[in-house]
Each structure stands twice: as C-alpha cells, then as structure tokens.
C-alpha cells in the first residue's frame, strides 16, 4: 500500500504577520517556513503506519505545489521519514489551482491513501483536500482523527457534532485530517536529516488551469479595547458586568 501526504509550506504559526505593496503581499522578511501543522500530523501518522508492518504500508510520498524556495520544507518532510517527494513547480494561487495540479500527478500514480490536512494555517480555507478528491473522483472522509488499515479496508474515525463515527472505506480514498490523528509531530533524527539529502524530489511542471479566486488585498485586525480588570476578592463584580454590561449571561 502506498500513502501520499500533501504538504503546504506556511509561515511559522508564531510569525508576526505584516503586508507590503499596499497590503497586497505578505512581507516574507524574516519568516520561518514550516510544514503546515495539520499536514505535519498527517505525515506523522503515515510514517507510524509504515513502521507498523501489519498495516501493509510500504511507501510514504509527499507532494507539494510550490517554487524551488519551498524545498527546505520538503527536505524536512523527507528528514521526518518520507521516502520521496513530488514538487509541482508553480506558485500556489488558490486551493482550486493547487488541487488541480496535485490531481494531475496523483491520478495515475497508484496511491491508495491520500492524506491532506484539514486546513492550512495561512489561508484557512479547509478546501484543498475535498477539491482533490472530487478532481480524482475518489471518495473522501473529512474531519478524520484516526486512521488504520485492516484487511485491505481503511478504518477511520470521523468527528460529527457531539461525537464520532467509525467508518470503513475501500481504497483509493482521500482522508482529510484533523487534530487527534497523532499526539505530536514526529521530530527528524540526525540520521533522517542526513539521508534526506539524497532522497529524490521529483519536480514536475504545472498544467495550465485558471484559479477561481484571487486575494485583492489584506487588512490587519482592529485592536481590541483595553481589558477591564476586576478585583480578585470580588468576582461578583465580574458576574454583574457580564450580566448588565455585556449581557451574555
């Protein structure tokens, strides 16, 4: 069985976000780029499955749409333990564009399980995974918090309002991964970092496809009003503020 994990390259989640060019472009000065947190957890789970001989997973590949500048992020995925990587050499314009590019390289490559993080921490669209599944004509399960392989069937837990469902589904499939799939992201060991240098990153050229959306410009959030402090000896004052001023209780 072969697993593909789609990874996105995003600013470190503690980055102070700023824009340039009349608020049209992200100021990338000094930004640390990381694997999108949900994609990193997906990759961790894929590698755990591969480590478990009973799961029948032989290979874990990562795929990424981006220019050469995102290769350090791909190398990080290889250092974590992915066997090889595919990079589609294009600026990721929107989720539709990215999913279309990914589906081109995936459609005849024989992957059984495709994992996508449910969201990227930059655009927060929660759309690329589902779009990819529709492009491929594969079934998809969203909000997946556990996945394992059992006798050729894939068993997943998906979140529903107020609970969860255990689902089985045949391959090939797209699983869209949320929190809970792995406790913590796997940390690359020194040996992994060394071997990552020689693992293949296969670069393919993009297909021509129009994006469906475009960002016109960005805006910073308005600062919140200053916090009103209440005497810790008299929390009743807080309850009264919530009742009479905020009117929320």
């Amino acid at each position: 069985m072969k697993i593909l994990v789609c990874i996105s390259n995003v600013p470190d989640t503690t980055t102070k976000i700023k824009f340039i060019d009349d608020n049209k472009k992200l100021d990338t000065t000094g930004i640390q780029w990381i694997i999108n947190p949900w994609d990193e957890l997906s990759l961790t789970r894929a590698l755990d499955m591969k480590d478990d001989a009973a799961s029948g997973v032989q290979k874990v590949t990562v795929a990424h749409v981006g220019l050469g500048s995102s290769e350090p992020t791909i190398r990080k995925a290889l250092a974590m333990g992915a066997d090889d990587a595919i990079r589609i050499n294009a600026e990721p314009i929107d989720a539709f564009f990215v999913a279309a590019q990914l589906s081109e390289v995936i459609k005849n490559a024989g992957f059984d399980i495709i994992l996508c993080g449910i969201e990227s921490s930059d655009y927060n669209g929660s759309t690329a995974g589902g779009m990819l599944a529709e492009f491929l004509g594969y079934p998809s399960v969203s909000s997946v918090s556990s996945i394992k392989s059992e006798n050729g069937q894939i068993i997943m837990t998906r979140e529903i309002d107020g609970g969860k469902e255990i689902i089985s589904m045949p391959v090939p499939l797209v699983a869209i991964i949320q929190k809970g799939i792995a406790k913590e992201p796997r940390i690359a060991a020194m040996r992994g970092i060394m071997t990552a240098r020689t693992k293949p990153i296969n670069v393919s050229q993009p297909i021509t496809i129009e994006s469906l959306t475009e960002v016109i410009n960005y805006e910073m959030p308005k600062p919140r009003a200053a916090c009103k402090f209440v005497d810790p000896e008299n929390p009743k004052q807080l309850v009264e503020l919530l009742q009479n001023e905020a009117k929320v209780i």
């Binding site: 759309t127 529709e134 689902i167 960005y218």
Partner: protein, 323 residues
C-alpha cells in the same frame, strides 16, 4: 437564478446555525434580486421544514432516500450539485462546520465554483464578487474576489444574525436515486454523547489551561459550565497532557469557536490559542500572570490564582443567577 442554501439536519431537526445560514442566504438573494431556496437532504418532517420559510427561504426542497442518513461526501455532492444546476443557483451557501467543510470543496470542483470560506458577513461587493474572510488564523483579513460564474460561500458560525421575515414557503418533496456504486462510507459504529452541549454550538464556553495545575482541579470548571449552561473547552497543553479529551482543545489546530462568551481560566493565550477563540464576542481571562497575552484579547480580566478564584466566582454566579 437563485441562491441555494444547503441545510443539514441533526436527527431530523434544525438548529440556530441553520437559521443563521438561511437568514444569510435570503439577505443575499434580496441583494441579487433573486430568491433563496433551501435544500434539505435526508428525512425531515414538514413541520420542521416549514421553519425555514420564517427565515426567508421562498422554496424548500426536501431530498430524501434512506441512504442519505449517512453523510457520504460524494453522494451528497451529487445531490446538491444536481439541484444547483436545476435551480440555476448563482450562489450556494453552506455552514462552515464539519459537514460544510466536507462538501463545499467537492461542490466547488463539480460546479467549477470558487469558494469564499468562513465568511462572516455579506459580500463587500457583488460585481466584482468580493468577500471578506479571516486569514493567517485570525492575524489578518483578506478581500477575496471570486471570479467564477457560480460562487460558494461557507458562513462562519454565530457571525450572522438570525432574521425572521415570516414568509410562507412552498415545500417540494423529491425521492432521490442514489448511485450505489459510489456509496463508499460504511459506518461501523456511532459514538455520541447525548445531553451535552456541542462545543462549537455553545453560546458560553468555559475553558481551562495549565494554570488549573492538575486534572483534579476540573470539577469547579464543570460546575461553572453547568451553572451558565456552557460547554467545556481546554488549551492545547491540557489536551496534549491527556488531562482532557482532544475534542475539547480550542485553538488553531483544535476547535475554532465563536461563542458569545469565552471564559479562559489559567490560559496564558498563545497566538495559536487566540487563533481558535478570537471570534468570541466577549472574552474573560483569569490568570495569575498580569502580563499574560490573553489579557490583551480579553474585555474582562481577573489577575490571580484561578484555582482560588473559581469557588468565589461560582458563589457569585449562584447569587446573581439565584435572584
């Protein structure tokens, strides 16, 4: 032309979220000089369907088939896309919840329709079609132009007011054929907690962090949540430590919530935590560290040891609520 709004049901019932998206769709239809059509998939009784008319749906389509009681993303996408074509939908509205996130992207590809996801208000302009959305996990906003002829919008929960217009809507019943060969979602088991407020639906959320010091200190939080009719949440370290289940983790990689009131107890308020709760209407912070970043995001704060303050706060709530 029309605005089509997909309404999910929970055991045959709608909830506030449903009426928010129907109100939104009907307001948008008004701006576009067209009508709002609600599409319900799965078994819902007429009495419940009629409620959608009150919030501005002019027509209600009820698509049923026993198989539709399970959410199979491909089957649902087919059903919604079919009706979108039949009704000449120009805009399709869904909730930005678990189901909306599962279906909107598939619909986007099926109909070549661009998505504005997690929008909180009506479009900034209709021609060009521009929406306003949160990006960088709440650290910025973006004006996004949707270029395609058909547009899909997913509405953030608790962001749009429910508006009663009092229309009488017609109900159309449709028995749907399901393509068995693409039905692949086999549910083995359902684990559901009944009688508990769903975190993402809660108007009030009580959340505990590392400042609670130990999982043994949780009972006062549970009591406070009970008194206020709220749901429980926690910070990431608390769920990582296994003090609380990961379903309660709110923050960037956990649940993104937008309650009317969020009470953060012993939570310092990292950027990642704020990303999950910044849409709350009011934030209350209780923390021992006066410099904790949570206070910069809160309207009300108490500086002090959360474990010691909680019993007093509970007494105060009992007193005020008891009146």
């Amino acid at each position: 032309m029309s605005v089509l709004v997909f309404v999910e049901n929970w055991d045959g019932k709608f909830k506030k979220l449903t009426f928010e998206i129907v109100s939104y769709a009907s307001k948008l239809a008004e701006l576009l000089n067209t009508s709002a059509i609600a599409l319900s998939v799965g078994n819902v009784e007429n009495l419940e369907l009629e409620k959608l008319g009150k919030y501005g749906a002019q027509k209600i389509i009820s698509a049923t088939n026993e198989k539709l009681n399970v959410l199979d993303n491909r089957i649902y996408t087919d059903v919604i896309a079919d009706f979108a074509r039949k009704e000449g939908a120009e805009v399709i509205v869904l909730a930005n919840n678990i189901t909306g996130k599962a279906l909107a992207p598939r619909l986007s590809v099926n109909l070549s329709a661009g998505i504005g996801s997690g929008v909180g208000k009506l479009p900034i302009s209709l021609d060009p079609f521009v929406v306003f959305k949160k990006v960088y996990s709440g650290n910025a906003f973006a004006h996004v132009r949707i270029k395609s002829r058909i547009k899909i919008l997913t509405l953030a929960q608790n962001s749009f007011e429910v508006i009663e217009t009092g229309n009488n809507a017609s109900i159309e019943q449709h028995k749907i054929q399901v393509r068995d060969e693409i039905f692949n979602t086999h549910v083995q088991e359902v684990q559901k907690q009944t009688g508990k407020i769903v975190l993402t639906d809660a108007d009030i959320v009580i959340s505990g962090g590392r400042g609670m010091k130990s999982p043994d200190n949780w009972p006062p939080l549970v009591e406070l949540a009970g008194l206020l009719g709220g749901a429980l949440a926690c910070s990431r370290p608390v769920s990582d430590e296994g003090w609380r289940p990961h379903e309660e983790h709110t923050g960037q990689t956990g649940k993104i919530i937008a309650p009317n009131l969020y009470i953060a107890v012993g939570i310092s308020g990292s950027t990642q935590h704020i990303a999950g709760v910044s849409s709350s209407k009011y934030i209350v912070a209780i923390n021992i560290d006066k410099d904790a970043p949570i206070f910069a995001n809160a309207q009300y704060g108490i500086i002090g040891d959360a474990v010691k303050i909680l019993p007093k706060l509970i007494d105060a709530v009992k007193e005020v609520k008891g009146k």
